[in-house]
């Protein structure tokens, strides 16, 4: 079994009476993609925010590379080796694509490193940014203003910025959201390339992508984990079938946990179909 880089134990977040995330335990291993799926409102984004330090948990703990990082603020967790992308594109819109990535890479240069030097001439940051730019396939968009880039390119930029901080652990919140088929395919290819060197958590509605990518699958409903295991195990799980398909329905179709029309509320988007979420 490969190395666990991030581990959450009995993580709970309550907003008033509502437990948005309830007693969730989950591990991320190096060189593996752990997909988290579930209907809208299942608590996937809240879980991501808990792991990245954007919000702090009501109970439970998170360890990152063996260190207890529970309650740490986002910048500390980021520097400890966690990178995240956002479901809702969260970039520096007025800056160029390059400056977005360069700034992300700059966060890893020591503070005292010649603070009156030109930022554009810091070689280690430029190299890291260059690598991330290439990985994300954005070379041609380098000098474009980020806010004017296409939706798909902005999603790629999200990932590039995350990569430029050299994270060990990647939390990707719906990287395929709103992407066209060709763009989505390219992104799936990128994620596969990133898999080797990272521990990755993938929150995604596109079931084609999930079943192509995931080594491990966790299904959340109403803030709770209802099933976790290999994709095959999860597909066979009775809880998942009832949550996603409603009792008495036929087993899930081959290759995907796909909803059938008009079944349980809040289903994930249909296989390969357009994603209307967020």
């Amino acid at each position: 079994m490969s190395e666990v880089l991030l581990s959450a134990r009995k993580l709970t977040k309550r907003f008033g009476g509502l437990a948005a995330v309830n007693d969730v335990t989950l591990d991320l291993w190096r060189s593996r993609i752990h997909a988290v799926i579930g209907p809208n409102g299942a608590g996937k984004s809240t879980l991501t925010n808990l792991l990245s330090g954007d919000i702090s948990p009501t109970a439970g703990e998170v360890t990152l590379s063996g260190r207890d990082v529970t309650g740490w603020n986002p910048e500390r967790i980021s520097r400890a080796g966690l990178g995240r992308s956002y479901q809702k594109t969260n970039i520096f819109r007025p800056f160029t694509v390059w400056e977005n990535i360069r700034l992300a890479a700059q966060s890893r240069t020591p503070h005292a490193a010649g603070w009156l030097r030109l930022a554009s001439r810091i070689a280690p940051a430029n190299e890291r940014a260059e690598r991330a730019l290439e990985l994300a396939g954005l070379q041609a968009r380098r000098d474009q203003v980020a806010g004017a880039a296409s939706h798909g390119e902005q999603r790629q930029l999200e990932i590039a910025m995350t990569l430029a901080t050299d994270p060990q652990v990647l939390l990707l919140d719906e990287p395929l959201a709103g992407m066209g088929t060709a763009e989505a395919e390219r992104m799936v290819g990128l994620l596969l390339r990133l898999k080797e060197a990272h521990a990755m958590m993938l929150v995604e509605h596109d079931m084609d992508a999930v079943f192509t990518l995931a080594d491990h699958l966790t299904v959340m409903v109403n803030g709770q984990v209802i099933a976790t295991g290999t994709p095959a195990q999860v597909r066979a799980d009775a809880n998942v079938q009832s949550a996603y398909l409603g009792d008495g329905d036929a087993g899930p179709p081959q290759g995907a946990v796909a909803p059938s029309g008009g079944s349980a509320a809040g289903l994930p988007a249909s296989v390969g179909g357009p994603n209307t979420h967020g």
Binding site: S52, D54, N73, P74, E75, S78, R79, R84, Y86, N90, I91, F92, R93, P94, F95, T96, E99, R102, L103, A104, Q106, S107, R108, T109, A113, W115, L116, R117, L118, A119, S120, I122, A125, V145, M161, T165
Partner: protein, 332 residues
């Protein structure tokens, strides 16, 4: 449109030429103008340093401080306290000491205020500045509402600051140094991080930037530079009073930065000169019948700033840029 162009971070060639012409005009001014006007120009330069220090917060980092005058005034008072009744005091240690006093004040106040955002930041900076204002206003030991006289200008070795022309060029040199320093800072890793905080602080934190530290450093540095301006103000006018730290002074600085154009420091200089010039021009307006138009200068100033904000959102510098570009196109 990119922020780079909204903020004119990189100054186009045309503007650089215009600024260089402005510098030449400033260099020549004492030779063509009377002492009175040269002193007024020196005062504009001091205010330009003050406006640039605020621009680091307002235009670059996106922190609108309504209490920046507190740090301007603190250094002026520092000079007043350090200058004995009957002799001049050396500039070489009182200037750093006064700047340090302002920076320290900014560090302490900044520690509390940079945690807040948006309207709350505006309000708490104003509240802290009002506290500083009343501390001096209500304390006889600190000069009270009358303020303190500074009988001698600081002694600066070979520079005889009592000589108005020397003082003028000394101030111009400080202006240029501060401008060069801030321009360099703008494109340093620190400056890029501050711009990132203005645009998207949330993402900055997610990428590992301790934004609190960056903002506190910017607030402290801006306070120190405001102090540099305040020191010169005290030295020039020979007098400090609580008005220097007052609400109006802080508000004027904000207007200067908006008027000139934010986020590139050149705009702050242009704005400070324009604001001071207009202030005097409007005050000198003649009375029409029983209506004293000059007395209501704030009305005209307000109108003018509204016009600039509506029709030239990038400020006077941006307006100049537009005019120069149009001319360039016509010439082609």
């Amino acid at each position: 449109m990119s922020a780079t162009s909204v903020h004119l971070e990189r100054l186009p060639r045309g503007l650089q030429v215009a600024l260089a012409l402005g510098l030449i005009a400033l260099l020549a001014f004492p030779f063509v103008a009377t002492d009175f006007y040269a002193q007024m120009a020196a005062r504009m330069m001091i205010l330009a340093i003050f406006a640039m220090s605020l621009d680091l917060l307002q235009g670059v980092t996106g922190l609108v401080s309504l209490g920046h005058a507190a740090f301007f005034g603190l250094a002026g008072y520092a000079l007043a306290f350090l200058t004995p009744q009957g002799a001049a005091v050396s500039l070489w240690w009182t200037l750093p000491a006064a700047v340090a006093a302002s920076a320290l004040g900014a560090l302490v106040i900044g520690f509390f205020v940079v945690r807040t955002h948006g309207i709350y930041f505006i309000m708490v900076t104003m509240a802290f500045a009002q506290m500083v204002f009343f501390l001096f206003f209500d304390n006889k030991a600190l000069g009270g509402s009358d303020g303190i006289y500074i009988n001698f200008k600081p002694a600066a070795g070979v520079f005889d600051l009592e000589n108005k022309r020397v003082f003028y060029y000394f101030t111009l040199a400080v202006l240029l140094l501060v401008y060069a320093f801030l321009r360099r800072l703008l494109f340093s890793p620190f400056g890029r991080a501050l711009a990132g905080i203005r645009v998207n602080e949330h993402r900055m934190r997610a990428m590992g930037f301790g934004t609190f530290g960056y903002k506190l450093a910017a607030f402290t540095l801006a306070g120190g530079l405001a102090g540099l301006a305040g020191y010169l103000w005290g030295a020039q006018s020979g007098y400090v009073n609580p008005e220097l730290m007052g609400f109006h002074m802080s508000a004027h600085a904000i207007m200067m930065v908006i008027l000139g154009g934010m986020g590139n420091f050149a705009g702050a200089i242009v704005g400070a000169f324009a604001f001071e010039y207009l202030l005097h021009a409007f005050k000198d307006l003649p009375a029409i019948g029983r209506f004293d138009t000059g007395k209501h200068w704030q009305l005209w100033m307000g109108l003018f700033i509204v016009l600039v904000v509506v029709f030239a959102p990038r400020g006077l510098l941006g307006l100049l840029d537009r005019v120069l570009r149009r001319k360039e196109k016509r010439d082609e």
